[in-house]
Symmetry: C2
Subunit: 246 residues, 2 copies
DNA sequence: AGTAAAGTACAACGTGCATGGTAAATTGGG
DNA sequence: CCCAATTTACCATGCACGTTGTACTTTACT
């Protein structure tokens, strides 16, 4: 009876002030950390896993509960025993998935961005960023679905997703760029804009790529990032270009 | 009985070699240019118009023929008198709409890019590009739907769309950038990449913007383009940045 | 092994929707 | 004003799917 995905009046707003991490559930001593890989909770995992796959491949409205059940190797009834319905399942999957992707990104950056010289750092940062898309294709397929259907999901779901994923990732990129700027290695008048510009450049070729064409190979991706970083550093102007930025 | 949108084996390929502009239909002397605004053909116009609106707002699978009929002010039966079915209607609408948008873009560029100085030209080019998105919101809403659902449309439709719209637009941008490079006002080693980078930069802030947030005002959009163009020209590096591009 | 929780198969209900048919109404051109 | 093409209202069919109830089976822990 919820069915917000076809709701007539979407986009109620949500106060973002509340602590992003919900107050830890009150202990639940009944189930003292059941093996997360085990049977009962394992089913839940399988469902979210399968749901991510199918939602990403089919889109929200095309995805049937039956298809998710098949993908996850459970019965449809089990899905309804774990989740209220299709919509709640979807928000859960999106939220979880976004969190995992953001975690992976931040971990990679931590490991790969070594601080030797600015260009190397930017290359590592850029590769980590586009690496998300190649490592989690299902997730980003799902994200494309959301972007197309924002209007049909309640604002609370969108906000939760944004906070769990994209905002954390973007903040991490901004932090790294700022470090370089603070060291005098970049000239960044407006950090927010520079961050967006950096992300846009490194993802440009895989975003604007003609749709339906085969995915780029790893070597090509590396090349794209390299050229994007060089464009980010030096631009395409010549000395004779009039009107310096400032 | 077509229903390719839920087809199991999508992505048949199509030979792109055939002339992009279909050979002009053989005169059809039966209907010597009936007033395109008039009754009979006017209905068709109303249908594609309404279809664009609803498809953009709802997405392909959520859109019902009934909704399109209501939006267009016709009966559902009339839609089936003009189009084979939902899928053919969709491809037609996408193709037409993409063509119109590309036409408008090229016309604007022709008028606005005056060739006085490189920065001014790039600003005009950038504004024309993002102007598409503000002038044709319904079209781009529909494009987002396609991007999310590429896998569910036959390759022929995708290719036709790409040729009618995005490729023409991108080619025009490339041409203008090349002119500046030829005049020694830009340093462009790889034209295709530079084009993509330019497009990515000018659209960055409206693309990466947190979803669900209110659209930017005209003044903000101008500002975005200005900063993007400056980034495109000069980049964010300092003199001390190691590893020049070449 | 035994028991309670969890999972499954199956059937059913209601809905929304694509698509087609048909006969009456409308409209635009001559 | 008349005719032919077009549009419309209405009905019918068939399918896909979300969701729930129920009774049976499996699983996991003691």
């Amino acid at each position: 009876m919820v069915n917000w995905a076809t709701d007539d009046d979407p986009h109620r707003r949500l106060p973002l002030s509340t602590s992003p991490t919900a107050p830890a559930a009150p202990a639940t001593p009944e189930r003292p950390v059941p093996a997360r890989t085990g049977g009962r909770a394992g089913k839940r995992q399988a469902i979210t896993q399968g749901a991510r796959t199918v939602f990403g491949r089919e889109g929200y409205s095309r995805t049937s509960i039956e298809a998710i059940a098949a993908e996850a190797g459970v019965s449809t009834r089990t899905i309804y025993n774990h989740f209220e319905g299709k919509d709640q399942l979807f928000s859960d999957v999106v939220h979880d998935s976004a969190g995992q992707v953001a975690d992976a990104f931040i971990a990679t950056v931590e490991k790969q961005v070594t601080g030797t010289d600015p260009r190397t750092d930017l290359l590592a940062l850029g590769r980590a960023f586009v690496g998300q898309r190649t490592q989690f294709p299902e997730h980003f397929a799902m994200i494309r679905q959301i972007k197309a259907e924002v209007q049909h999901f309640p604002a609370a779901v969108i906000d939760a997703w944004q906070q769990a994923g994209p905002q954390r990732v973007q903040q991490e990129v901004a932090r790294r760029l700022q470090q370089l700027a603070d060291a005098g290695l970049l000239r960044i008048p407006e950090p927010a804009r520079a961050t967006v510009h950096f992300i846009a450049l490194v993802t440009s070729e895989i975003t604007i790529r003609p749709y339906g064409s085969p995915a780029l190979g790893p070597a090509q991706v590396r090349d794209c990032v390299t050229r994007a970083v060089d464009a980010f550093l030096h631009g395409y102007g010549t000395d004779s270009a009039a009107g310096a930025p400032r």
